[in-house]
């Protein structure tokens, strides 16, 4: 949901290795589970970047890393990719490496896809890689 990023972000993992500075990167590894409102991401490792004390970016890697979120219309989205980068300030997520996105209205596959958390818009390709989309037919009498 667009309000997700205004929630605290909770992370659970097996271990962490962090720098105690206002600007620093903490590496958190092992069964990483991130939750923030309806957003949930599972990965092997996460790098949490803070600038001036604020969380600005989380880079997650996995085989694959998985992301789930419910949009403002209540529709669920399931995504998986080798690498997921969450830019918290910009409310943008980039997925790269064998990206698969499933939504009720259809699915999308590609090597690099950008997801806008405010609008729910998905943006793929543009970097030379191709996108495959499959749109689900509207249910009978769906209007």
């Amino acid at each position: 949901k667009s309000t997700d990023r205004k929630q605290p972000m909770d992370i659970a993992a097996d271990s962490s290795d962090m720098l105690l500075n206002d600007d620093g990167v903490s590496k958190i590894c092992g069964n990483v589970r991130i939750s923030q409102g309806t957003l949930a991401i599972d990965a092997d490792c996460a790098e949490v970047t803070r600038v001036k004390g604020d969380l600005t970016q989380v880079t997650l890697t996995g085989a694959p890393a998985r992301l789930r979120q419910v949009n403002d219309n209540g529709e669920p989205m399931d995504a998986s990719a080798a690498r997921i980068i969450y830019f918290t300030k910009a409310a943008q997520i980039t997925l790269s490496g064998g990206v698969v996105i499933d939504q009720p209205r259809g699915s999308m596959r590609g090597e690099s896809i950008r997801y806008d958390l405010n609008t729910g818009r998905l943006n793929g390709g543009g970097d030379g890689s191709r996108i495959q989309m499959r749109l689900s037919p509207k249910p009978e009498g769906g209007g």
Partner: protein
């Protein structure tokens, strides 16, 4: 936080206090474990320890310090340590009690342990809290086998087992880690 100087200073303290023998055994009935007679004890004291270069290594205040009969280790009640940090700032460390090993290789803080760092440029503090936590002055290191909570500004991390290099300001939580990052402050 220059622990190396701290360790040397603590050793000097042990040596110096060896001269000031103040055996209170007969004066006041205290909860003294008769099996472990203390070599000497200090009550309601404040002290500053200095390193070889004359700069302060740490400050310590406590209601009671006892040197064990083996003449090597110290037991300190509700210690309040102050360790100098860069730029004239300091770390504060407190606990219900502390045990100091021979030649201060290890300072074991026990019970309601809290270590509070100086304000950073952004006005954020680092804090450690645990039930038990050891300071190893010679290696600039702190460690704990148990649950430790580390906070820096609005980020709070908790885990079981801690290893921290205070010179590098690098902290590892070894298992069962949970973290909470508050939404951006602006």
């Amino acid at each position: 936080m220059n622990y190396r100087k701290g360790a040397l200073a603590m050793s000097l303290l042990v040596a110096a206090l060896g001269v000031v023998v103040w055996d209170m055994r007969g004066q006041r009935e205290r909860r003294v474990d008769t099996a472990v007679r203390s070599d000497y004890r200090l009550e309601r004291f404040e002290m500053s320890a200095y390193g070889e270069d004359g700069s302060i290594a740490f400050g310590l205040s406590s209601p009671l310090l006892e040197r064990a009969a083996d003449g090597k280790t110290l037991d300190i009640e509700t210690p309040a340590f102050v360790f100098p940090a860069e730029g004239g700032r300091s770390w504060q460390a407190g606990a219900r009690s502390a045990w100091v090993s021979d030649r201060a290789r290890e300072i074991q803080l026990r019970g309601d342990v809290r270590i509070v760092g100086p304000l950073s440029k952004r006005g954020l503090r680092t804090e450690f809290s645990a039930d038990r936590l050891s300071v190893f002055p010679k290696d600039n290191r702190i460690a704990s086998p148990g649950w430790v909570t580390v906070s820096h500004g609005t980020s709070i991390l908790k885990g079981k087992g801690l290893e921290a290099d205070m010179k590098q300001r690098r902290v590892k939580l070894l298992s069962e880690v949970t973290a909470r990052y508050a939404p951006e402050s602006r």
